[in-house]
Amino acid sequence: MRVSALGKKGRVSGLMKSLGEMPPEERKSFGQAVNALKDEIGAALQEKHEALSRAALSEKLAAEREDVTLPVRLGPLAQGRIHPVSQVIDEITEIFGDMGFAIAEGPDIETDFNNFTALNIPPEHPARQDHDTFYFSPDENGERAVLRTHTSPVQIRTMLAEEPPLRIIAPGRVYRSDSDQTHTPMFHQVEGLVIDEETHLGHLKWVLEEFCKAFFEVDSVKMRFRASHFPFTEPSMEVDIGYAKVGDEIRIGEGDQWLEILGCGMVHPNVLRNVNIDPERYQGFAFGVGIDRLAMLKYGMPDLRAFFSADLRWLKHYGFSALNVPTLAGGLSS
């Protein structure tokens, strides 16, 4: 059809050719009419052509139907998990990082000096018995290494290696030879240490209150500071946090029950002397919190022992996605 109308020998082409034989005054209007005719036929043909190819494609696609209800694999992100302890350490890091703290670390197997003596716990101090320490056999010099019973030796390492002012937190594994319903021989603590010329108890209270609010993501928390005793701090305090129990759920920031969550105090002058810092000039605070305990409170795991059983059912349920990186901007536990 296209050829019979618009081909070289087509009828419209014939009309175009007849133009040359026309008088000039007719030629103009006739030419316009023929050109319009040509466009009209062209457009009609194009339209038909497209309609035909559409129909053909539709027919083809109709034959290519897939069952879209077939399942797809969700890929590795759906499988992988971050352990709640790691997640909570990342959250804690985020909060304290914002307050200007750096992260410090130390080895699990510690010297007796770093774990006890330097922290004002001399060999016969009764506090040593409260620590349920794991010991190694004495080495050739008679020195007996221990599995650190707390993260406090990182304080000693930091103060020996760096000059004040210092602001650190030190998360990590700690060990006590204790195993029952609520104790495991290995657990996690985070230590905090601030040393400068003016930090006092009021700053400690503020930091801990800010931390608890940020960590538990509540506008206010009730905290109770009780006098206590640790050989490495003075004054020393234990801190309780107010909570309400609703069914099996623990709600921080509500209610009037108390739960002990951490120990803290002003660094003992003897500890400062042991690391060659002048206690007349420098002072500061230290605190230690159980990380597993914080995780249990925030995310509602009932049993500490399950943290270390590597049970995929537990890890998949309580673990976190790889891309769920805690940030202050995005909400710690978004």
Partner: protein, 804 residues
């Protein structure tokens, strides 16, 4: 430390309620662990009168009582033989929990007769084992009043945890002093009146120490009381001891226990008639032994302080006395010992012989050295009061250790350390209430600590006293500004890499586990561990005896446990320390993982689009490479060698190396023997990355090098080579890439083939080479020239040939 409120009030004048007292104790550092308040426990029970008691129509042993409770008259069925009209008893209404029978009462029909409550026996209230009948209250007991009052159960017991620095609070008097200083009443200071002796002490005493052990027992005092009458102590004393969980023995022993808890002054009483010659304190001698009050026989040693007479060892000084010379009901002449024993030696001896006693507990924390003689006087007076007799004069061997000197204290330090704004006056008053002696004035106050406070050494200790007694709650939270200037990174490079590694592995489908740092010795040995230096002296079990030399054994056994639970496919990883020695530098940080069953990045196990492949060496290699890549390192340019530790399959394992000596990580299928020894079922593949071995992060600015993207068409050419089966593919790729470093942008290996068409002992490796011209389009001639260079380079490096 247990005490009762009535006992406390002998030392403290206070109107404070039980709640106030408990609250204050906790806040000032004497943490309340338990309160047993009978008034509260028996709140529901009231005094009731039996108005009438008649025989139950259908039961011989039951009576139907009409009971007046003061508010109503109820019918109660009762099985007690002593229930009778006119008596007064303890009534529990419906709804009351009765501890002795563990039942909450309901309205019941007993043999067809309704009963609205219960008349209780002592056993039902857990007051005693008495169950012959219901409790009979005195006639003057007021009907309807609380039964606890009528029973005399009004004294609440408080149990507090005493921190090791406060031996003075192992005395009810010490607790009272602290409460008074906290503003909860007035401390009743009770000076001890000396008891004049009627005759010279007939029992010789002596200290027998060398100069270097003289501090074991610097002072030893004693006296004899003649003609005492021993026997059960009076009810009030027995009740007091029972209330704090002690068993009354006899008056003489009960008196020493009482003073131990009342004043933190341990004493010992001997039957003077059983002593021979001089009684002395000295160090033990090898092969000496004695039978202690706990019924056990101890062989003493030359480190232990003992009390001995001329013939035998009588007991461990400050820890436990002997059975043989103890006071019995027959004792008529008693020798009272009051001494000071060194805390450290007492603690060591107690621990060595594993003896726990109230005396050891106090001496090892430090008793008041100035209270040796007053304690003896107090005991004498009590013995004379309760047992009669005549006291000798006191004899003292040695002398009490000197008090600690005064030290200077600027009260301004309280504010500096705590932020608390308290007047000097209040600071001074508080310290004086605690027994400190003050001289001079601020800022150079001279403070002498009281003899009962061995924990006070300097100004910081005083700040602690003020803060805890004035109230930690009064310290206002003070914002701590962030240091100005450019923020330092919170994390070190290594910490950043740890975090990256963790998220990379989790994003590759692995699940993070936290496994024990200690593993069974047999498992440690399989991974090159088990050295004596890494063995715990006191493991919690044989399953947790050795520090792990690698994270893999823990992960493999965890993987198997999960397989046993029905997870046939999956993967676990862990980041943590592993140990090759006890020194800090021998503890290294590893990121390890194990994959088992059918695993792929798409998913696990079977699937309609194709099953996941079995976990193999390449799955492990890919995990390791992904971590390295995330650290900004290029794993494809690293040395990979077919060497790995014994616990991997010898032919299916390898290492990433940085030069010949530094191993960054190992990977592979785990050795079937290793898996068998761990009780695990293969195949499993694993990897371990040593984060400490990684090259340091290069410090560079945040700017990037300029992008060198070319608009010219890249050219791809495929080559297949026949090489010896033992030729590493990595060598071939490296050779191809090095043929023209400028032009060759990428070399990919897309086929490894053995079998039909490939001679025995050979394999075919096919690569795709991408040529990226930067300046002008390549001509066919140039492309052919590069292709020739590639072939030549590969042939030279591998001894192979281009496949036709």
């Amino acid at each position: 430390m247990k005490f009762t409120i009535a006992w406390l009030k002998e030392h403290l004048d206070t109107d404070a309620s039980l709640e106030e007292i408990a609250e204050t104790l906790t806040v000032i550092g004497l943490e309340v662990e338990e309160i047993v308040d009978p008034a509260e426990a028996f709140k529901a029970y009231t005094v009731a009168e039996v108005v009438a008691a008649e025989k139950h129509p259908d039961a011989d042993k039951l009576q139907v009582c009409t009971v007046n409770t003061g508010t109503e008259t109820l019918q109660v069925v009762c099985g007690a033989p002593n229930a009778r009209a006119g008596m007064k008893g303890v009534f529990a209404p419906v709804g009351t929990y009765v501890p002795g029978i563990d039942v909450t009462l309901t309205k019941a029909k007993i043999r067809g007769v309704e009963s609205f409550g219960m008349l209780c026996s002592e056993r039902e209230l857990e007051l005693s084992d008495e169950h012959h009948g219901i409790i009979e209250l005195p006639e003057d007991a007021e009907v309807g009043s609380p039964a606890a009052d009528a029973l005399g159960l009004t004294d609440a017991m408080i149990d507090i945890a005493i921190t090791p620095n406060r031996p003075d609070c192992l005395a009810v008097s010490g607790i009272a002093r602290d409460l008074a200083a906290a503003g909860l009443g007035t401390f009743k200071d009770k000076p001890v009146e000396p008891v004049k002796g009627d005759f010279k002490n007939p029992q010789p005493i002596a200290l027998k120490f060398d100069a270097d052990s003289a501090d074991a027992c610097p002072v030893f005092a004693g006296r004899v009381v003649k003609g005492v009458k021993n026997g059960p102590s009076p009810d009030w004393l027995q009740a007091r001891l029972k209330a704090i969980g002690l068993r009354p023995i006899n008056a003489l022993v009960d008196i020493t226990n009482y003073i131990s808890f009342d004043r933190a002054r341990p004493l010992h009483v001997y039957d003077a008639d059983k002593l021979t010659g001089t009684i002395s304190a000295r160090l033990g001698k090898v092969s000496e032994k004695f039978e202690a009050l706990d019924g056990k026989t101890y062989e003493v040693d030359p480190e232990a302080t003992v009390i001995a007479d001329d013939e035998k060892v009588l007991g461990f000084g400050g820890i436990m006395g002997g059975e043989e010379t103890g006071c019995t009901d027959e004792t008529t002449n008693v020798f009272i010992e009051s001494a000071y024993f060194d805390p450290i030696r007492t603690a060591k001896t107690g621990r060595r012989f594993n003896i726990v006693s109230d005396a050891r507990y106090r001496f090892e924390r430090g008793v008041d050295p100035q209270f040796v003689v007053p304690g003896l006087e107090l005991a004498t007076q009590m013995i004379l009061d309760l047992c009669g007799g005549e006291a000798s004069e006191i004899e003292v061997a040695g002398e009490a250790p000197e008090g600690r000197p005064a030290f200077g204290f600027d009260p301004a330090r309280v504010k500096r350390l705590s932020g608390l704004d308290i007047s000097n006056k209040e600071i001074e008053v508080t310290l004086e209430k605690l027994g400190f002696e003050l001289a001079g004035s601020a800022p150079d106050l001279q403070v002498t600590p009281p003899s009962w406070r061995p924990d006070i050494h300097g100004p910081a200790d005083l700040v602690e006293e003020i803060v805890r007694l004035v109230g930690v709650d009064k310290v206002a939270p003070t914002p701590m500004p962030r240091a100005s200037g450019v923020a330092k990174p919170v994390l070190t490079d290594k910490q950043i890499r740890q975090r990256l590694a963790r998220r990379v592995l989790a994003s590759r489908g692995l699940v993070e586990a936290v496994t024990w740092s200690f593993i069974p010795e047999a498992h440690a040995r399989l991974f090159g561990g088990g050295a004596p230096a890494l063995k715990l002296d006191n493991p919690i079990s044989t399953e947790m005896s050795d520090m792990r030399p690698s994270l893999l054994p823990g992960l493999v056994t965890a993987a198997q446990r999960n397989k046993d639970r029905g997870f046939s496919d999956g993967g676990l990883f862990e980041l943590g320390q592993a140990y090759s020695g006890a020194k800090p530098e021998d503890q290294y940080l590893a990121a390890s993982g194990v994959r088992f069953g059918n695993v792929s990045l798409e998913g696990l196990g079977r699937d309609w689009q194709g099953n996941a492949p079995k976990a193999d060496v390449f799955a492990a290699k890919a995990d390791l490479a992904a971590m390295l890549q995330s650290f900004g390192l290029d794993p494809s340019s690293m040395m990979v060698v077919a060497e790995a530790p014994d616990w991997f399959h010898p032919g299916r394992s390898g290492s990433f190396k940085l030069g010949p000596k530094v191993t960054l990580g190992v990977f592979g299928a785990l050795h079937p023997e290793t898996l068998r020894a761990l009780g695990a079922e293969g195949p499993m593949a694993g990897f371990e990355l040593y984060l400490d071995a990684l090259p340091k992060q290069k410090k560079k600015g945040s700017g990037r090098s300029a992008l060198g993207a070319s608009d010219l068409q890249a050219v791809r050419r495929d080559f297949a080579f026949l090489v010896d089966i033992s030729v590493p593919a990595g060598d071939l790729i490296k050779a191809a890439r090095s043929a023209d470093k400028a032009l060759i942008a990428q070399v990919g290996l897309f086929d490894v083939f053995t079998g039909k068409g490939v001679p025995e002992g050979k394999k075919s490796l096919a690569i795709e080479v991408t040529l990226q011209p930067m300046e002008k389009t390549l001509t066919d001639k140039e492309i052919d020239a590069v292709a020739e260079k590639i072939v030549a380079s590969v042939v030279k490096a591998t001894g192979g040939e281009l496949r036709g």
